[in-house]
Structures are given as C-alpha cells and as structure tokens.
Symmetry: C2
Subunit: 199 residues, 2 copies
C-alpha cells in the first residue's frame, strides 16, 4: 500500500514528469517543498505559471522574450551586422556567458533530421534568409557538432553562400584544459585540420 | 548581460533553490516548463501549493497525513502491537516498499546530535514512550547506521529496555547483490557479529 497522502503523491508525480528527475529525486524535492514555508511554496508555484504566461518568442530572432523583442534584439548596443545561428533558445545564454559575442542571434528551433522527419520547412530557415539584408555582414553558424548539426550547417552553407555574406562556423578542436591523451580521433583530426599558424 | 527574460530567470532561481539542483539543471527544468502546455504548468503549480496546504503530521505517529491520522495509522489492518521507529517521515515509504512490515511507525523527526544541538527533548522520544502501552509487544528501531543513528539507538534502548517490551533493530551486514571484495571493514565486522546459523 502507498503510505504517502494523496496530495504528496500528486506533487511527487509532478516532479517525476520533469526531465532527468526519477522517483527518488522527486520524493526528495517534494519533501523539501513540504519543509518550506507556505510563502515559499506559493512563490515557487507562481513563478511556474508566470513564466509560462509571460514568455513568448522574440519576433526577430525567436529567443525567449517577454516583450515583442527579446532583451538582446531590443538592446541598441548589439551589433546587428552579425547573426549567430543556434539550434535552441537555451543555447543563447551559453554563448552569452562566454562574453565574447556582441552580435544578435537566430534560433532555428531544431536541426535537420530525416529520421525524426524534420525537414527544412520545419525549422526557421526561411526566417533566417529573410533576415539577411544589406546591413548583415556575417553569419556565424553555432550548431552542435553532431551528425544532424553538421548536416544542417552544410545545408545552410549552400543557401547562404550565394548571398555574398561572410559565413563562418564555430571552431572545432581540443577543449580548453583537455588532454591529448583523452581526445578522440575525430576531435583530433578536426583540431589538425583547423590548425592555427603561430606567427 | 543576462539574455533570459525576467520571469524565466525567476523560475530558474526557484528551481535552483531545490536540493541537488544546480544552475544548469534548473535551466533545463525551466525550459521544460516553458515547453509544457499552460494546463500542465498550472497543474504543477497547484500541486505544490495543495501539498503544502493539506499535508500535516499524523497525531499518532507523526507521518505525513491529510487527516488527523495518516493512511497507515488509520488502516485497521495494520498490526498496532509493533512500532517501527524511523528518523524521518520520508523513511516510511522505503520500509513500506520492502513489503515485509505490517506494523505501525513512529517518526522521531531527527536523531540525537550534540554537535547540531539536537538533544532528547528536540526529537519525539517522549511521544514514543507514551505510545508504549500494554497492547504494544515490540519496538523495532530502524535508524540509519550512522554515528548519530547508533547513538540514538543506544539511548532509546536504555529507555525502552526497562519497559519490558520486545526490542529489536534492523540487521546490519552485506547488502543484497554486494560483493565481499568491495565491502568495508565495519560492514564486514557487523556481518560477522550478526552471523546467522545455518540449520
């Protein structure tokens, strides 16, 4: 028999629905909520609905936004001549954290994947092409170096090359702090291919 | 600069407050909530507040309960002559899952720990002693085999022994599926100490 009261069991079930959260972790999280004050529980609950209600997609780059434009697209200091193409909106904070990029973004919303029936019309490629106007000088493709990511990069390259805009992609090579000994052959061959001249 | 909208950032912060959830996991959970339908988000939010509002402690054993008595104490089929003493209410489902116990429980709400200033009056020892009446035939102490758990077991033993009730504790020894090679000395010495005769 189940020794948990119904409302506790419900909460555990809700936590179990979250990605990467198993039954044991869900229980731990639910017990934590019970130990919290009521105010804390209410603030947690409100944050969930508030985020769901107020977040939409930026009409320009399809990043998460609360207004029509996201915080990046509405920032006048950003360089509008460079567009960095990412797979998901959640990739943007990662690139932002590196602190080296001052251009704008474009969220594809996926990568080409024939196996999962994702074709060119299912991701925001058309929207990207319409954004490439005179003011845009460079497109940086920042997709994951996976099979699908590579295929999508190749597909985008073919479409963008004729538009006579500077086109680049993230460098592939050794991760910072990595060791040659533990690097796989593909990464190593990419690092060799992309070797940088020492002046 | 932060590229996340405010309400998304708030939600990520709420998730970060949960035990064992770091910034990256919190982000993943928040993105998941955004991908959900509004109904799913609302049901998650409601479950949090509902659990917080309707869960209280069983007046008999201090397990989580929605009524005055928890589901175990209000179950007439449970054997009221055996009380299993656990540290936390969250230990009860673990013992229940083993499926071998049909008695009732008593939640101490902690263990003796002079370093954390937890003394006998800070946990529910008095409440346990008042529950030991004529109908109670056995007390099973099921505290963690940690230093504090052992000390508390010893303390309870001294108090309960004079009451002339059968007193036992969970067996210590090799975990099921474990290997001798990887067993620490203390566990092995406990397993030797508690060796069981083969008839």
């Amino acid at each position: 028999m189940d020794s948990n009261p119904k409302s506790l069991e419900e909460l555990i079930k809700e936590f179990t629905r979250l990605p990467g959260i198993g039954r044991k972790t869900a229980q731990r999280l639910a017990y934590f909520v019970l130990k919290n004050t009521r105010d804390e529980a209410v603030s947690f609950a409100k944050a969930i609905v508030a985020a769901k209600d107020s977040i939409r997609f930026c009409t320009e780059c399809f990043n998460f936004a609360e207004e029509e434009l996201c915080v990046i697209c509405s920032d006048t200091k950003r360089d509008r001549s460079v567009i960095c193409v990412v797979e998901r909106a959640s990739d943007i904070p990662i690139i932002e954290k590196a602190g080296r990029y001052s251009g704008v973004f474009h969220v594809l919303g996926g990568v080409l994947s024939p196996l999962n029936r994702v074709g060119p019309d299912d991701i925001r490629i058309r929207e990207l092409l319409t954004r490439i106007k005179d003011e845009v000088g460079e497109i940086i493709i920042a997709l994951n170096p996976s099979v699908e990511g590579e295929a999508t990069t190749l597909y985008l390259t073919r479409l963008i090359k004729p538009l006579e805009v500077k086109l680049s992609r993230l460098a592939q090579g050794l991760p910072a702090g990595g060791e040659l000994e533990f690097t796989d052959e593909l990464t190593l061959s990419k690092a060799l291919e992309g070797r940088v001249a020492i002046d």
